[in-house]
Amino acid sequence: MAQELPAFRSRQEGPVETDCWPALSGVELGSQARAPESAPFAPSHLFIRPEKVILPEGVVTPATSTSQPLPNSLVGTNTSDRTQEAMLNVEGLVRGVIVKVPRLAPPRTRSEILQQWEGEVRTVDADEFTAVIRDLGSAHAPEEEVTLAREEVSDGDLQLVQPGAIFYWAVGYRISPGGQKTRTSELLFRRLPAWSRRQLERAREHAREFERVLGIR
């Protein structure tokens, strides 16, 4: 069953008018396939209807100038540094085909995490705070208490540094495209959900049970 695939428009490079990939023609229904790494980028016409198409960075918008327009369910997402994915949910057409388009974007900086903790702030002073941290890589590692300078916290998180605040702390490397390693320490504070009226009411209802056990009621 041959169907036309729409052309994909690159925001950076304009319409792409490459022909289909020969390697993908004749793909069976429901199967998955990947384009060869050497395949030319972005076909204007394919004789399959992919369910999922992985596009290189910068390509998110399907052109509408196709002989058979796609349904409205095309969703483009930036899922990683390396690729962008466009999800096609095409009812009644070929499903489960993945077409991988070779990456065009230059390689980016990546991170390597060596150690992660979850922490809870216990005390806060003018320029530092103490926190109890728990090793996220080892459930049996003993909890530790650390004192950290407030300047280690990003400006956007500073107002969150309060007793009881929860944060994540990752220590590792940042690795440049050229392979240069830099040791890093990153603190990320959680935006804890706020107490709602409904939750407080539910807590009060729950408290009635405890009152019975405590013998208050």
Binding site: L114, R122, P142, I166, F210, G215, I216
Partner: protein, 340 residues
């Protein structure tokens, strides 16, 4: 009896349970479990003890007998937003109530379903008459005072979260609600100081104990030093009015917080009062686990201080006959004698 609880960081087992198991004593034989207050460092593993010591009576501070505390327990359950908040003393207390509720579900008489004793000053928590050649024994709570219980209601109310506030860990209340205990057994007497502070006015803390008409007239030979030997819990009058000269004093370290306890000054003060002072662990906490070199280098650059909160289990064992002989002292794990 078992007073408060902590856990072995390696086995994750309550230390008191492990100790009794080593002695061949079943938890069923325990007559009384006391949780002196609801701070984390006094409660870890307490629910497991309450659950397994099914025949024991359970006592906790009368300051917790309130709708405010029940609501705080419920809010603690609602605010468990991370693995950190699930390890708090309030969470452990909720587990204790679950254990007590299960007793009720098993048909245990209602008197044993909730706390059997809301401990307050001058209350007998356990009493055994002399019989079969064994001396009488009695456990008496010395605190909290009635005024402290009243004040605690207001304080607990202030700890309750308000609409719009982030769901942080429930803050812990003050130490003044702590239950200090007096134990009589034969000719021996012990004073367990919990975390009761010294100076909270004449109606609270040790001042209230000392001025109470229900305070025992005798003197104790053994002291569990209050609040990790801190200055804030140091009441000189208990040494002159409630303790024998040169008593056996045991202090437990607290490695968390701005200043680990006891400080050097606390230890110096202690050994001025008695040469028989012992500590169950290193007062300044324990070195943290070593990580891989790159992590260690980063930690040295970023963290201004770093220490492990829970060290290896330390144990000071005082054993004595029920006659007037001095106790024998044995030290286990990281326990040590305090010296100048």
């Amino acid at each position: 009896m078992i007073v408060d609880s902590c856990i072995d960081r390696q086995t994750r087992m309550p230390v008191a349970k492990a100790y009794l198991t080593r002695l061949g004593v079943a938890l069923d034989a325990v007559k009384l479990v006391v949780v002196t207050h609801w701070h984390d460092d006094h409660m870890r593993g307490a629910a497991e003890i309450v659950r397994e010591a099914g025949a024991a009576r359970f006592a906790c501070s009368a300051a917790l007998r309130s709708e405010e505390f029940a609501t705080l327990l419920a809010c603690g359950a609602e605010s468990m937003t991370s693995s950190m908040t699930s390890s708090s003393g309030i969470d452990e207390f909720r587990k204790i109530l679950d254990a007590l509720r299960q007793r009720r579900a098993r048909g245990v008489p209602a008197a044993n379903a909730g706390p059997d004793h809301w401990a307050t000053h001058g209350q007998v928590l356990y009493e055994r008459p002399a019989r079969d050649g064994v001396s009488q024994a009695r456990v008496l709570s010395l605190s909290p005072s009635a005024a402290t219980v009243t004040r605690a209601l207001r304080e607990l109310g202030q700890l309750l979260p308000q609409e719009g506030e982030p769901k942080r860990r429930i803050r812990q209340g003050a130490n003044q609600v702590s239950v200090a205990l007096w134990i009589d057994a034969g000719y021996q007497r012990a004073l367990l100081g919990s975390d009761l502070p010294a100076g909270t006015g004449p109606s609270g803390g040790w001042s209230a104990v000392l001025s109470s008409s229900t305070r025992p007239a005798q003197r104790a030979r053994i002291l569990k030093v209050p609040h990790h030997g801190s200055q804030s819990a140091d009441e000189p009058a208990i040494w002159t009015e409630m303790l024998e000269a040169e008593p056996w004093a045991v202090v437990t370290p607290f490695a968390s917080g701005r200043t680990p306890l006891p400080t050097e000054a606390d230890l110096k003060r202690l050994i001025k009062r008695t040469p028989n002072a012992y500590c169950t662990g290193r007062p300044q906490g324990w070195s943290p686990v070593r990580r891989q070199p790159a992590v260690e280098r980063t930690l040295r650059e970023v963290a201004r201080s770093r220490r492990t909160i829970l060290g290896p289990v330390g144990h000071v064992r005082l054993r004595y006959s029920l006659e007037a002989a001095d106790p024998t002292v044995e030290l286990f794990g990281g326990a040590l004698k305090v010296s100048a």
